[in-house]
């Protein structure tokens, strides 16, 4: 997959250092293998639509960016529910598949499952090649 991860919160870089050393390194050997960025004041969170002015923090938001520097997917949640990493991985694989093949991936697609080839011949005929139970 070859994906670069950047984690961002409004904490200072010093806080990031201590969090990595005191807690994260006890969950992941050697600490998490990606940089922790400091968005003081939520300046960047504001343009990504994730800065909560009342709480003064960037809420949970995830953005997938392709090699052309375009945003392909985003997910923004209030903080009390954590992310689904498997869904992120699925989306990365799907967007990479689309980019290399030109095919499109129907609902619930996983690697190995059927893809669709858009074109005039497929219009109105999706029911022949794809069934809703394949979404699960």
């Amino acid at each position: 997959m070859g994906v670069t991860i950047l984690a961002i919160s409004t904490d200072s870089r010093f806080s990031h250092k201590i969090w990595q050393e005191e807690e994260l390194s006890k969950m992941v050997e050697g600490g998490v293998p990606f940089p922790l960025l400091s968005d003081a004041g939520g300046r960047v969170g504001s343009i990504y639509g994730v800065y909560d002015e009342d709480a003064g923090v960037d809420i949970r938001g995830r953005f997938l960016i392709d090699p052309d520097f375009n945003i392909r997917a985003m997910e923004v949640m209030t903080p009390e529910v954590g992310r689904n990493v498997m869904e992120l991985i699925r989306q990365v694989k799907a967007f990479q598949h689309v980019r290399t093949t030109g095919e499109v991936t129907p609902a619930g697609w996983q690697p190995g499952k059927a893809t669709l080839k858009p074109g005039p011949d497929l219009a109105g005929k999706v029911w022949k090649v794809w069934k809703p139970d394949q979404a699960f």
Binding site: L6, S9, V44, I47
Partner: protein
């Protein structure tokens, strides 16, 4: 990416507005900064922030990773629970 001696504060560019903003328009710039620019299918808003990485501090610019698949994860705070 500057590697000046480490101080108590390290200014960064934050959001980098690039071609989206007409620099001639002056006060309009502040208005643009407060607007959400992130949309699917559109270019990712660029930024530069200070970071902790691999045991040290450095400034990181999103566009330094142009050409790769990138995932940005915002999270509410260090030492929070989820």
């Amino acid at each position: 990416m500057s590697d000046k001696p480490e101080g108590c504060v390290k200014p960064t560019q934050g959001p980098i507005l690039g071609a989206i903003v007409d620099l001639e328009s002056g006060p309009e710039i502040q208005k643009e900064v407060s607007m959400v620019q992130a949309r699917v299918g559109k270019p990712a808003p660029d930024f530069e922030l200070s970071a902790f990485i691999g045991g040290g501090f450095k400034n990181i610019k999103l566009s330094d990773y142009k050409g790769k698949w990138i995932v940005i994860c915002f999270y509410p705070g260090d030492f929070t629970f989820v």
